[in-house]
Every structure is written in C-alpha cells, then in structure tokens.
C-alpha cells in the first residue's frame, strides 16, 4: 500500500479527480478509468500486431516486416492507415443497420468486460461482486456480433461462416466456464478482486499461493487456455475466419474500418480472456516469488499478459487449423469431460484442506492429480485409438 511507485496510477487518478468539484468527481473517476483502459489496450493491440507479424516470421524462418521505420516498428501505423483509407463497401442487398452495428457490438462489450479485471493493486475500474459472471455474460455478446455480421451481409458464405463460428464459440464457452468455475468454487466468490486476493501470500515464505500450483489449477489453466484460444478464434481453432480455405467466414463482406474494428475486437477479446486466466489461476498482479514483490503490481500483470500473448502467437506459428468435426469432437469428447473431472479434483482439494495427519499435503496432491491425470490418460488413449490416418473415403463422390 505504501509503495508510491506501485500506486503511481492510483494516486495520479486521485489527484486528478480531486481537482474537480465534489459533484463531478464520480463521473470523472469513471471517465478516467475508461479512457485509461481504452488507451492502454488499444495501444497493446497495435504492439501485438507488430509482435505477431515479427514473431510469426521468425517462427517460420522469415524476417517479418522490416520496411517501415527501423526494424519495421512503424508497421502498425502503416496497417492502420491502410485500413482507414480503404473503401468501406456495404453490399447493396445487405441490412445496412445491422451490417453497421455488428463491429460495434463486437468491440463495445469486450471493452466493458475490462471494467471488472484487476490490473494492479487497487487498479480495477469496478470492484463488482459478480465479476466473473459479468465477464462471461458480456463476453458472450461476441457470438451475437458474429451472427449479426453473417446475417446482415446477405451472403450465403457469410452466413455459413457465421453459423460455423457460432457453433464453435458456444461449444467452447461451456468448457471455458466450467474451467473457471473451479476457482470460483474454491475461493467462494465471483469477484475477481477477491479471487486475486485469495492467491496472495507465499508457501514456505517464497512461492506464491497461486491456483496454478495445485493439480486442479494447472489442469484448469491448460483447459482454460485451450477453450480461450477457441473462444477468441485463435489458431488452431480459427476456422471461423480461415483465411486460406474459406477466405473470411462472416467477415467476407467487410472492408476498411469495419474490418479493422472486428480485428480490434478479436484481439481485445484475446487480451480480456487472457487477463481473466491470469486473475483466476496466475494470481493476477501478484509477484510469483516473495523477493520480487518490489516490482510494481501492474508490471507483473502486463508481463503475464504479454506472456500469454506470446504463447498464443507461438501456437499460431506452430499448429495447423483443425477441421470442424475435429473441433467439435475435441470440445465435447475431451474438453467437457476433462473440465467436469477437474471440478471433482478441485472439490477434493478444497474439502481435504482440513487434513492434518503427517504427509497430508502429499496425499492431497496425489488424490487431486490422480483424479485429473487418470481420465486424461484414458481419454487420450481412447480418442487416439480412433484416429484413422490415410486417404479419406467419400460416400457419394467417387
């Protein structure tokens, strides 16, 4: 609390708010928080597009963009100018209003989701009791925007792409929520601030009490990550867009600034869901070891966020795209059972907290790990046995 560097932005905001008459202070407080969130995450989007293009290049033995400015650092600016100056075409038969609203419905709810995410000690726009619930409720509106985009374009390929995207997003919403529920269950609160607080303190005086350092937490984080990648249409689950096969799915009829808004929404969604993962499993803004607590909390938060972004870029540079049937099989036959089993593991961990006989911690670990690990091995074996590699057979075409 006392560290002024840690509370730099909080103090700055308090000072700015105090300049105004009392009646206007709550309004300014809200505006400042919103402005900070929009500015920071929009610039993070610009940085991420550059990191992604450079990183993907290096992952594939290429240089990546290097023409705009030194080492191509002005590439986001060039991309942005290109997007803004492109002609904004609306199909003649399209539903003009819905076609216009779809990108806004994509971006605005995602931005509101940031309100409940704690980005540092005392740095949260709204300390909302139902934070996790609010996040998922608002996050689900991206599905609406995708369908609006597909429907309003009045293009059958757009509509098919949108339906495929909806099927994927709804399928993966279930494991995403179930993976998060473990944490809510253990902490006993839906408030993200409370969830981060519950992970404060250090085991044996140095290792953070993050949920990821428990068997169910580790499994939960991995399941959450997989579902999150599918939820924000990242490779290997990017068939809704699928640039190389189905051109752009629901984005077929979008160009110029609206297309850029969809991109912004997708990336903001990725940051938001990564931030949620960090808050749930990786202790939010807490330092991982007790002797690094002198580093400001927001540095930890954004460091972890950049780590997540790098992981997503790395995955994109590595994995091929899944087919729709593989995608659905994976969601319903693997992710869903695993998240349910993980709930049992978390419950076991939670209710065995009172054990006090010698070696209790080892037994808790063993029990919880076995509950997750055995089904993982069994499912992996069962699902892998059914993979048929070889030429595909067709029923009607010969």
């Amino acid at each position: 609390m006392a560290n002024p560097l840690d509370q730099l932005f909080v103090l700055l905001k308090q000072w700015l708010v105090a300049l105004l008459p009392v009646g206007l202070q709550p309004l300014l407080s809200m505006v400042l928080s919103a402005a900070a969130i929009i500015a920071v995450f929009a610039s993070l989007f610009a940085v991420t597009t550059l990191l992604e293009r450079k990183g993907l290049g290096r992952l594939q033995n290429r240089l990546g963009p290097n023409r705009t400015g030194p080492f191509g650092i002005l590439q986001p600016l060039a991309d942005g100018l290109k997007m803004l100056t492109k002609e904004d075409i609306v199909p003649e038969a399209a539903d003009q209003v819905v076609h216009f609203l779809a990108p806004l419905v994509m971006v605005v709810p995602v931005l509101t989701a940031y309100a409940v995410l704690p980005m540092g000690r005392n740095m949260v726009a709204v300390d909302f009791d139902g934070g996790v619930l609010f996040f998922f409720a608002v996050g689900a509106s991206t599905e609406l925007s995708v369908f609006m985009a597909g429907w309003a374009s009045r293009n059958k390929y757009s509509l098919l792409g949108a339906m495929r995207a909806i099927a994927q997003m709804i399928s993966y919403e279930v494991p995403l929520v179930l993976a998060s529920v473990t944490v809510v269950m253990t902490v006993g609160s839906l408030s993200l601030v409370r969830i981060v607080q519950s992970q404060s303190g250090y085991h044996w005086g140095w290792l953070a009490r993050w949920h990821v350092f428990t068997p169910w937490g580790l499994a939960g984080l991995l399941l959450f990550l997989i579902a999150a990648a599918a939820e924000c249409n990242r490779t290997p689950f990017d068939i809704p867009e699928g640039e190389s096969e189905i051109i752009a799915g629901h984005l077929v009829e979008y160009s110029g600034f609206k297309y850029a808004l969809f991109f912004l929404g997708e990336y903001l969604g990725m940051f938001a869901v990564s931030s949620l993962g960090i808050s749930l499993f990786l202790g939010g803004w807490e330092a991982p070891v007790s002797f690094l607590t002198w580093i400001p909390s927001y540095v930890w938060f954004f460091g972890k966020l950049l780590g997540f972004i790098s992981l997503f870029i790395w995955l994109r540079g590595t994995l091929p795209r899944l087919r729709t049937d593989q995608l659905m099989n994976f969601a319903w036959k693997f992710l869903l059972p695993m998240t349910l089993v993980n709930l049992v593991a978390a419950a076991g961990w939670h209710f065995s907290a009172g054990w006090s006989f010698p070696g209790a911690l080892a037994w808790r670990w063993l029990f919880s790990a076995a509950v997750v690990g055995v089904p993982y091995l069994a499912l992996g074996h069962a699902l892998a046995g059914r993979v048929h590699l070889g030429p595909r057979s067709y029923r009607y075409a010969t």
Binding site: R58, L59, N61, R62, W314, T318, L319, A384
Partner: protein
Amino acid sequence: MSLLGVGLLKGMVETARNFVGSYHDPSRLTTVQYPEERLAPKENARNFPFLVYDGADSERGLRCVACKICEKECPPQCIYIVLERDAKGKPQKHPKVFDIDISVCMSCQICVEVCPFDAIKMDTEFELSRADRFGGLLLRKPDLAKPNVHYHRLHPTEAAEVDARLAAEQAKAAAKAKPASPPPPKPAAPTIAPAA
C-alpha cells in the same frame, strides 16, 4: 500408447528452434530482401517475348520477316504485325509494326516455338509496373528489339544452339547459291558481338 499432447509439444519445440535459430544463423532464413538482394537468374526463366536482332542495327538486323505465324498462333492474340512494303507495294520481308500487348500475353511461349526464323524469344524482365496500364504495357517494335547478346546472356545454352543451327543453315544456303549471284544481305550472319 502415445501420450495426448506430446506431438503438440514437439511441434512447439521445432518452431521455438526456428525462432532462436533465425537470429544467429542467417542461413536458416528462406527469404531474400528483394530490392536490395536478388536471387541469381535461372536459365530457363521466361515471361514475355522479345525480338532478336543481329549486328548493331536494331532495325535492319531484326531476324523477323513479318510472316505473321506467331500472330496467328498466339492464343490470347496479343501480337499485331504489319508487313513493310516499298513504294511500289512490294513486300519487304520486314515488319513495319510489331506490337505485343503484355497485359494480354500469357507467357505461353507458343510464338517462340512456331517461329521458323528464331526471331522471337522469351525475356526474363519482370519489373514491368507502369503508371499507364494500357499504353505502358503495349510494347512497340523499338521496345521489343533486343540484341543477340541479350539472348545469350539470358539463355546461354539455348542461344548457342540457335546460333550453331543458323550458321549451318546459312553455310548450306551459301554453298547452294554459289554458282549464282552473291547471297542477299538478310538474314545476316548471327554474331554474338555487335559488328561495330
């Protein structure tokens, strides 16, 4: 029994190796920084046709006799030829106009294959962007005429074969025509170096 997810990790290790390796091992980089660096030209590369001339005069030295075989064979019909005639209307075995619209040309090389005089060959010039996409991409006779030296530089093996064949044909024709008057000046003897 293979553990689920091992293949994924193997793939990620591979790309991580690329990521690190591309920084300290330039030989891993598969791309060329085009305007500054270029790949060495390939002998069999081709894109648009050009007209070969012998000697130094790009007008008199043209091998083309305006027979219009290429014009008739060209699938997209991008070649336009007008035969040159003297004051009395006598054909001159020389093109007055020879245009190729390279915005239409599909680089099929059929004109090269059908030409009985080895007068048209494929160029490798590819930096052809123009401000005017109609006039700028319509190549006229002076743009198309290029010396035999140019042909030798682009496709050395093929050009040497063509020169040998033309020289043999000319020798044969000269031997046949010896009793009569001296051979006409066209087609001139193919020479690699300009006569000047």
